[in-house]
């Protein structure tokens, strides 16, 4: 029996690896191993105040810190009977878009693109692709700036708090952000053009299921109280356990998820496949130009989906800024109307649907359950890795080529390993 091991998988966030065990031309086992240390975050928030919970759970991940914060806030506020005012709602949309710009551009330009162009990292790309690297960095910088301004600092800013924000942005800052969004649109369109030009092999293609938040109002969006599934179903977020069915796998410190016993995909590609028809403006044009049925069978198109989301995010920002300005007189923070209750908050993190479920008793967290995007994609990643390796063994590919292909497939999911290792209580039946 031969083994091909990729460990650690570089240019992903957190410690993970891929193990492939083969016997002759047969694949014995393929595993996407989550090697990150365990933190037991859900056990640490018990007994803490809702505000403390938000400060702790956002630390699960630095890249999706604001998505965690947003999901936690949605879950906690439902439990506490808080309805936030429109100004707070739109400020949260703005911070969320900032994170999408930061995370998607980081992944597309700095983490994924070097694979396709044959470089070990983005800095090495500077010689021949300086213009594009600079464009990618400009987009990321803008995303970071929005995160810093809305949350208080670039990573783990505490400004978005239970009931609203500690402080809101002034009119001038908001208008500057709006202007900058328009200026960066060509850079985002360039991202789409570059990624659309990459050659994506088809030999590992296979159908799967896609899941994302249903934003409502026939809009493309990133939050919702229902989940839209590509099999046609729409399910309230409160039923998330029946959608995700978390279970333990010994090679992974993150739990795996299955829907109806089958792997499923979350993330930009799931959003595009489920909601792409709702896009408007430039993102709509680009979606129509580039989307095809292979997107339903090939996870590597996630890179292109992320690039189109960059364009969409920039197009959203002027609308969001206008909405914040319309509600300038709203209160900064709304207080809880009760001290106990339960709530499920779901948002789209850049890499997929993120659930935070809380039970509050006497004003403190009594129970927490978090389900993370990368955990949901693990089975799907392994499914495609297995198909790819089987095909490549038939074609007598060498270890190096197999390793490279596996890395491209795994990395295209934009896995977030710190996120996926925070764990959830095992339910024994």
């Amino acid at each position: 029996m031969a083994e091909i091991i990729v460990e650690p998988l570089a240019r992903v966030e957190g410690e993970g690896g891929i193990t492939v065990r083969t016997e002759g031309q047969k694949v014995k086992e393929v595993s996407f191993d989550i090697l990150e240390g365990t933190r037991l975050i859900e056990t640490l928030v018990v007994g803490k105040t809702p505000e403390e919970d938000v400060s702790i759970t956002c630390r699960i991940c630095a890249i999706c810190t604001l998505s965690h914060r947003y999901a936690a806030l949605r879950g906690l506020e439902k439990a506490l009977g808080i309805v936030i005012p429109p100004k707070a709602h739109w400020m949260r949309s703005l911070m969320h878009l900032g994170e999408f710009l930061e995370s998607n551009s980081l992944h597309v330009f700095l983490l994924a693109l070097p694979d396709f162009l044959g470089y070990p990292n983005a800095v090495a790309m500077l010689d021949k692709h300086a213009d594009d690297v600079v464009k990618g960095l400009a987009l990321k910088k803008y995303g970071n700036k929005i995160m810093r301004l809305t949350s208080g600092r670039m990573i783990h800013g505490e400004n978005p708090t239970v009931g609203g924000f500690g402080k809101y942005l002034d009119r001038r800052t908001l208008l500057d952000l709006k202007k900058e969004a328009a200026e960066l649109l060509p850079a985002a369109e360039r991202a789409v053009e570059i990624v659309a030009g990459l050659d994506i092999p088809s030999f590992f293609e296979k159908e799967t299921v896609f899941m994302c938040c249903e934003p409502g109002d026939s809009e493309y969006g990133l939050v919702g109280d229902q989940i839209k599934i590509s099999d046609g179903k729409t399910v309230p977020v409160e039923q998330y356990r029946s959608l995700t069915n978390e279970r333990f796998s010994p090679h992974s410190a993150a739990k795996h998820c299955l829907y109806n016993g089958k792997p499923y995909t979350v993330g930009a590609i799931a959003r595009m496949n489920n909601l792409g028809e709702r896009l408007k403006g430039r993102s709509r044009t680009l979606f129509e130009k580039h989307w095809n049925k292979r997107w339903l069978r090939n996870p590597v198109y996630n890179n292109l989906a992320q690039a189109i989301e960059l364009v969409w995010s920039l197009e959203q920002i002027p609308l969001v800024v206008d909405n914040i300005l319309k509600h300038e007189d709203d209160p900064a923070i709304v207080k809880p109307s009760r001290t106990q209750g339960e709530g499920v908050g779901a948002v789209e993190a850049p890499r997929g649907t993120l659930y935070h479920n809380y039970r509050i008793k006497d004003g403190l967290v009594a129970e927490a359950n978090l389900i993370i995007p990368t955990g949901q994609s693990l089975e799907d990643i392994e499914k495609y890795l297995r198909i790819a390796v089987e095909e490549m063994l038939k074609q007598k590919a060498d270890d190096h080529a197999i390793r490279m292909q596996c890395e491209i497939i795994a990395r295209s999911y934009d896995p977030c390993i710190s996120c996926s290792t925070h764990m959830v209580s095992i339910e024994r039946t």
Partner: protein, 259 residues
Amino acid sequence: MEKKKLDVGLYGFTGCNGDQLVIIHSEDRLLDFFGSANIKSFSLAKSDNDDSELDIAFVEGSVSNQEQAERVKEIRERSKFLVAIGNCACYGGVQAMEMGQDTWDHRFEKVYGESFLENRTPVESKPIDLAVKVDFYLPGCPIDADQFFRCFGHFLRGEQPAMPDYPVCAECRWKENECLLLKGVLCVGPLTASGCGAVCPSHNLPCVGCWGVVKEGNVTSEFDLLKEKGFSVEAIKNRMRMHTGIGIMKPLKNILGVY
């Protein structure tokens, strides 16, 4: 004569990767950083990493399994200086907030049940200096880019890095913020190392303590003050422990008798 470039490695253990990300997010300076030293290892940013001898190892994250304890020892052996960056490396981070309370076994079982992990042997998260000698500490959750590059600049010039040793309250006063403690808000600014620019109080929100306990922070006085303001012992303990890991263990034990 041109000076030999420093050989530098960046490593991430258990945490959110936020400290390495702060460095990646520093765009313009990132290119200078890659140009001013030989970056031998930086797994979050590049794939051609090697395990060679280093002048400086920057280590992020807590040690949360036995394999990481071995790995950090191996990094220590081939590095002249080892710098712990971020709260997880310096103090254990949020995942170490219950250190010393013997709750870990129970909590681990709650999450994983009877199951075991094939590839790793988990332990309760702890700071790097419980596994190896640490030369310098750069706290923060996450670290501040300016502080990191200032520290790195010191190394480039062959100097020893120095960190501020005053609390968040000092920065808060420079910003002329109203004191939240005086308004009866549970703020741990007086105990917390500065470097963030008093960012939370500047947003009308209390300091959560995410840079760890400042040297000579008067825990007893803050504890008494908060009790006087009407906060329960439990609420004060929770808030003080949240981000400080091992940093608050001893002083709290002195106040409460037990931890």
